[in-house]
């Protein structure tokens, strides 16, 4: 019953201080296309950058170095480690992530509970894991291999998935909790993913919030999406739906003022629209406005 011990400890440990990461307020995913917009946000305290886009040598992308030098926290966000793969995480990819930490001075990194390649083929996308004990074991082993080299904590993000494996042994909350308990990793909770999965599966997103270890949250993702072909797609290229903003409110009723980060990956709107979304997030969570 080792997994049950973790639960009891978490319940009785409710008085523990929340996770200390140096992250606060509202942040935004830094992308080269919106570097100018991000640079002009006066209250910005943290950004996230795709870890694989940080060159191991040579200059950092223009604008990112300025943010770092201005004291904005830069969090490398990996998308290609394939931590949920049955194959061991590749050492050179871990080394590259460590290098990204060194170059950005990041207090933590994040990656996904997912796999992106198998059998020598790249999926080109984050794929869901079967929620089985074998998948827990594989993910835990890879997270531990990564942690062994990382000088900072890692936060793990559950993904949005359009399909599920047919033979789950655990539900989503139990699956994630086991991985977090066994690795000591932090949680990067993506509320847009929570919303997308619940809507596509016909389940209640708030019920999932009530079962996740919210005290392990390092920060929170929000993003826009769109309905297409009977499915809700977490596109990161559409406006933030009010339902996701409502989930921010539900989360903040359960965990005080989590750091929030807006992800936008394309079809960039006018700056005023992005500012409106950032302001809405600040208001929903009781954070200072950063625009």
């Amino acid at each position: 019953m080792w997994w049950w011990r973790g639960r009891v400890r978490r319940v009785t440990g409710a008085a523990q201080p929340t996770v200390r990461t140096g992250l606060a307020g509202v942040g935004i995913g830094w992308r080269p296309e919106i570097a100018g917009f991000v640079a002009e946000l006066p209250g910005l305290r943290f950004v996230e950058v795709i870890a694989e886009s940080i060159p191991p040598t040579g200059p950092l992308p223009p604008g990112l170095d300025t943010l770092r030098d201005d004291g904005v926290v830069v969090v490398p966000h990996g998308v290609r480690l394939s931590l949920g793969g049955a194959e061991p995480v590749e050492a050179d990819r871990v080394a590259r992530l460590v290098r990204a930490v060194e170059r950005t001075g990041a207090p933590l990194v994040s990656e996904h509970v997912a796999f992106v390649r198998a059998g020598g083929l790249e999926a080109g996308h984050l794929l869901p894991l079967p929620r089985t004990r074998a998948a827990v074991a594989a993910t835990v082993a890879n997270v531990r291999r990564t942690q062994a080299d990382l000088p900072v904590p890692i936060a793990l993000e559950p993904i949005a998935a359009l399909f599920d494996w047919p033979d789950d042994e655990l539900d989503e909350a139990a699956f994630l909790t086991e991985i977090l308990d066994q690795t000591g990793a932090l949680l990067l909770l993506d509320l847009a993913n929570v919303y997308a999965n619940a809507r596509n599966r016909g389940t209640d997103p708030v019920a999932l919030l009530d079962r996740l270890p919210l005290d392990r949250i390092a920060y929170v993702h929000v993003a826009g999406g769109a309905e297409d072909g009977g499915f809700y797609h977490d596109t990161h290229t559409d406006p933030l739906p009010s339902a996701v903003l409502d989930l921010v409110g539900e989360l903040c009723a359960r965990r005080s003022r989590p750091p929030l980060l807006l992800e936008r990956d394309g079809r960039y709107p006018p700056a005023a629209d992005l500012r409106t979304e950032l302001d809405a997030l600040a208001t929903a969570a009781g954070h200072p406005v950063i625009t």
């Binding site: 790249e122 996308h125 079967p130 359009l162 499915f231």
Partner: protein, 156 residues
């Protein structure tokens, strides 16, 4: 869970990725509608990544970009946005279907990079000409200049 659990997981993950990126049948036990939605979304995302590497090729195809690229890519595992676009541009060139903007872009890439179709393209060390569908570009010292644009179709 024993080692066989890990072996089983590896085999099932490999089978899933292979089915997803080579257009194989829906794996046993998976619901087909979510599977097909995921495959279509993956191909659209891939088209967007390739368009970032090959903006003129994508612009030249306009509204046909996503359907034509995803149709070509559905049975071909990705090799990354640069190579996917290069392969697709050559595919169109060989069928005389390359749009003029795409021809200009392919000629420029052929002039500055050496790509064998199988491994990562490498920068050319010496000046070279690149040609595609009537477009001619010259590459030297990492720079490229279009010597002749692909012939534009007559105005309607």
């Amino acid at each position: 869970m024993s080692g066989s659990g890990a072996d089983d997981l590896a085999a099932r993950q490999a089978a899933l990725v292979a089915a997803l990126v080579t257009g194989g049948p829906v794996p046993p036990g998976f619901r087909s509608a979510p599977w097909e939605a995921a495959r279509a979304a993956l191909l659209r995302k891939r088209a967007g990544e390739v368009a970032r590497h090959w903006p003129l090729l994508a612009a030249g195809l306009g509204a046909l970009w996503v359907p034509s690229f995803t149709d070509w890519a559905a049975r071909r595992p990705t090799q990354g946005g640069l190579r996917d676009g290069w392969d697709f541009a050559r595919h169109l060139r060989d069928r005389a279907q390359l749009p003029t903007l795409g021809a200009d872009e392919l000629a420029a890439r052929e002039a500055t990079g050496r790509y064998d179709g199988h491994t990562t393209p490498r920068p050319r060390r010496f000046p070279a000409l690149g040609r595609a569908a009537g477009a001619v570009a010259v590459g030297f010292a990492g720079r490229v200049r279009l010597l002749r644009a692909a012939p534009r179709p007559p105005a309607p």
